[in-house]
Symmetry: C2
Subunit: 220 residues, 2 copies
């Protein structure tokens, strides 16, 4: 592709000719400019900005909630080789697995597993909830990244209440209209480090963006 | 997971006990209720609603633009076995490939290919743009699904202008701050069937949601 102008319907649209890495830099400059005088916690700032970069939605300035020390605690966990469990293949696809692997971590998503499908069917629950059960049964400490199913977040909460799972942290950003807001409110009450998008909004893209922002801030 | 109530900080949050398929049904009922008297084209309606379901963002009622007959043309292409090329692994992960395979189609994403990385480096372009070049060189008719990179959309436009590619349709929903709005405006000027999210918003989740809505409406 060449930069420059393209003629459409007699209107010439000008494209700035930029190298790929410059596009991201310019995007973050625009986000900063539009944030104006908004005060952000410097540790949370790269995460909030990357979510806006991913969604073009400034609502996340208000929506994103961080427990005290959540960012550094999760980064320390990653540094010590923590793995990630997510409820969506899309988030798994979006997380920078190469960057995570530098510290020894990997990303798991059990949503397509046959045993998870069978357990969900048996219990009349969702595969997302059953996939959290599966992770808990592995007896390993994970960072849980929920980008789709509120039922995963509710299941995680119940497993924590029963002492059956003890996450390094929770990124709780499911999206939707049924039980989503309520499920996130549950997580706002726990002692585990969390990053949660309050309200209905979120998604697998937001989930991956938060993970990547944690990783990129570690590399800076 | 059991339905019912969970006690948090002395507040009991009630969760409606619902089977998985009921959650989606209830979500669409809420969306319909909140849309109120908004008039939607009946062919476009399932696509607009599924994007809102995926994003919890009602802006898409205004943002989504359909060329005349875009939905039925793309559905006919899928029915005849059309394959999809996308610029993001996340969209590939999110598209219902099982449903698409019923008609003989599959989803390609060339973003991770070595020849694409090499071509991008050589030309100083993005891998997304180079991946569109690769698709064009295959000499096959595709539905192009751009959920991330405006450079992919601009490249696609230029390839069409040169007669080097003739898509079945374009789903143009990249997200971001640099050249994104302009790249989408380009596509609004072409003769090829398109579904475009005007403005900055979009993303791989929106891209996958549109593909899946096309597929699910075919199955209904």
């Amino acid at each position: 592709m060449q930069g420059g102008g393209c003629v459409v319907d007699n209107v010439t649209l000008q494209f700035q000719e930029m190298r790929p890495h410059e596009i991201e830099k310019k995007s973050f400059e625009i986000i900063e400019k539009e944030l104006g005088d908004t005060k952000l916690d410097p540790v949370q700032e790269p995460i909030i900005k990357r979510v806006i970069h991913t969604t073009a939605d400034f609502d996340y300035v208000e929506n994103l909630c961080f427990s005290k020390g959540a960012v550094t605690t999760m980064q320390d966990a990653i540094r010590s080789g923590a793995c990630i469990v997510t409820d969506t293949q899309m988030a798994k696809a979006g997380i920078n697995k190469k960057e995570l692997a530098k510290y020894g971590g990997e990303v798991f998503c059990f949503m397509g597993d046959e045993d998870v499908a069978a357990a969900a069917k048996k219990n009349g629950s969702t595969r997302a909830a059953a996939s959290m059960e599966k992770a808990a049964a592995m007896g390993q400490k994970f960072i849980f990244v929920v980008g789709n199913a509120p039922t995963a977040l509710i299941q995680l909460y119940e497993l924590m209440q029963k002492g059956r799972v003890s996450p390094w942290g929770i990124i709780g950003v499911p999206v939707g209209f049924v039980n989503v807001t309520e499920a996130k409110e549950l997580i706002l009450g726990v002692e585990v480090p969390y990053i949660v998008a309050k309200g209905r909004k979120g998604g697998s893209n937001v989930a991956a963006a938060i993970c990547n922002a944690l990783l990129y801030a570690m590399a800076d």
